[in-house]
């Protein structure tokens, strides 16, 4: 799955980083605790979160996230968007709740897996 696929799956809006939407997502993380992101995330993952602070982008960058999806229709601060831009991390926003976002992505991943069999 590439970052751009999330637009359709989650009916998401791109806040920045249009240029990098063709990157391949290798893993997902859904977290509202930065410490958990730091402890459990893997390289080249997409982060789903309800946090919108500057620190989310920092944490994402440090742990090697390639995209951040803000769930529940939350908008990050302009500083956060600026930081994401400078680190080439696309930011997406969806009105879906966290659980539904995860469910929709999982369904798509299962479909993908099925199709490649």
């Amino acid at each position: 799955m590439i970052i751009g696929d999330l637009i359709n799956i989650l009916n998401a809006e791109i806040l920045c980083g249009r240029k990098y939407l063709d990157r391949e997502i290798k893993d997902f993380g859904a977290c509202d605790l930065l410490s958990d992101i730091l402890a459990y995330s893997k390289e080249d993952y997409a982060l789903l979160t309800g946090l919108t602070s500057l620190q989310v982008v920092r944490t994402a960058e440090i742990t090697g996230a390639i995209a951040i999806v803000f769930v529940r229709g939350k908008l990050p601060s302009p500083e956060a968007i600026g930081l994401a831009k400078s680190h080439h991390i696309p930011l997406l926003k969806t009105d879906e709740l966290m659980f539904n976002s995860c469910r929709k992505i999982t369904e798509e991943l299962i479909k993908e897996k099925h199709n490649t069999k």
């Binding site: 930065l34 730091l38 602070s53 920092r58 440090i62 090697g64």
Partner: protein, 319 residues
């Protein structure tokens, strides 16, 4: 004949003949004839293409026989060289399925003393998709060995570049940063800069990640819990990175408790930011190869984390 290669030295080739599939080595351009061909036609083609045998296929591309130079000589001898091949065809033909490894073909070459084998889609589906000879296999092997050799060379060049870069940077000063208390706008910059620094040196990405996470956790700790402090990152003789976080207080009363996952003293405000899960120090400990904490309620806390640059140290599993 005694080979001057020892058996041990040929392990790579041994492995490769098991790994390379017949379909990767075979030639897919098959010269074939149908049952209506004459021995004469086939003889001319063999001569022209410099090959020693051709498969005979029916109209469904299924194999019905093979005509080799031996068969042509026999046809000459017995005087039916201009006749159709059908009545003289050997119907029992040995084939190899394309998905088998080439070692299977080598065994058949030895067992039946043949030099070429028609390749079929699978054991059941006898449709011919190619022809394999010993020289095809040798070619594939050599190609594979060459690819491996190139990769090894590439890696050697990369390693050399890496150690050159590292030895240059050893002479550089350690990175030093001030970290202010409660400054959440700038918190994380130390980790971010440190990450870029080691990325540029060409350090293994997984190790860079661990260095960055340790930096970030220590930096956030100073920012959240202390009165301010500093972080120093230095590389010791090419082998390890040392991250030292110093703060001006107030000190950790119980270090063991602070290292316990889930233990936190963070305020509501900090938690609202997404921190304060009590995972900071335990996570730094997990990512570092060594972590030493010294704290006094008088002079503050000094945290020293060491991460080895060698590739052997994987991230420790959660305990």
């Amino acid at each position: 004949m005694k080979s001057h290669f020892s058996k041990e030295k040929l392990t790579l080739v041994n492995e490769l003949i098991y790994e390379i599939k017949i379909k990767e080595a075979m030639s897919a351009e098959v010269i074939f004839f149908n049952e209506k061909a004459t021995f004469r036609e086939i003889q001319l083609t063999l001569k022209e293409k410099k090959i020693s045998g051709v498969p005979i296929l029916d109209k469904n591309s299924e194999l019905v026989g093979i005509v080799s130079i031996d068969d042509i000589i026999t046809a000459f001898d017995r005087g039916y060289i201009d006749e159709e091949i059908t009545p003289y065809l050997t119907r029992e033909v040995i084939t190899v399925p394309q998905n088998f490894s080439v070692v299977y073909a080598i065994r058949l070459f030895e067992k039946y003393g043949v030099g070429r084998l028609p390749v079929t889609v699978s054991l059941k589906n006898k449709k011919v998709v190619g022809i394999i000879t010993m020289s095809d296999i040798l070619n594939a092997l050599l190609l594979e060995v060459q690819t491996i050799a190139e990769k090894v060379k590439e890696k050697e060049a990369k390693d050399k570049l890496f150690s050159e870069k590292i030895s240059k940077s050893v002479t550089r000063k350690p990175l030093q940063f001030e970290v202010r208390s409660d400054d959440f706008t700038n918190a994380g910059r130390v980790a971010s800069i440190t990450k870029k620094y080691f990325q540029n040196l060409g350090v293994n990405p997984e190790i860079v990640r661990r260095i960055a996470i340790v930096c970030y956790e220590l930096e956030m700790n100073i920012c959240i819990h202390s009165l301010g402090g500093s972080i120093t990152v230095k590389m010791d003789n090419h082998q390890q990175v040392e991250i030292i976080a110093r703060d001006k207080g107030p000190g950790i009363p119980d270090i063991d408790l602070a290292l316990k996952p889930g233990f936190t003293t963070a305020s509501e405000k900090i938690r609202a930011l997404g921190f304060g899960a009590g995972m900071g120090l335990p996570n730094a400990k997990r990512c570092a190869d060594k972590l030493k904490v010294e704290s006094s309620l008088k002079s503050g806390t000094v945290l020293k984390a060491i991460i080895y640059l060698g590739e052997k140290n994987e991230v420790k599993k959660d305990n």
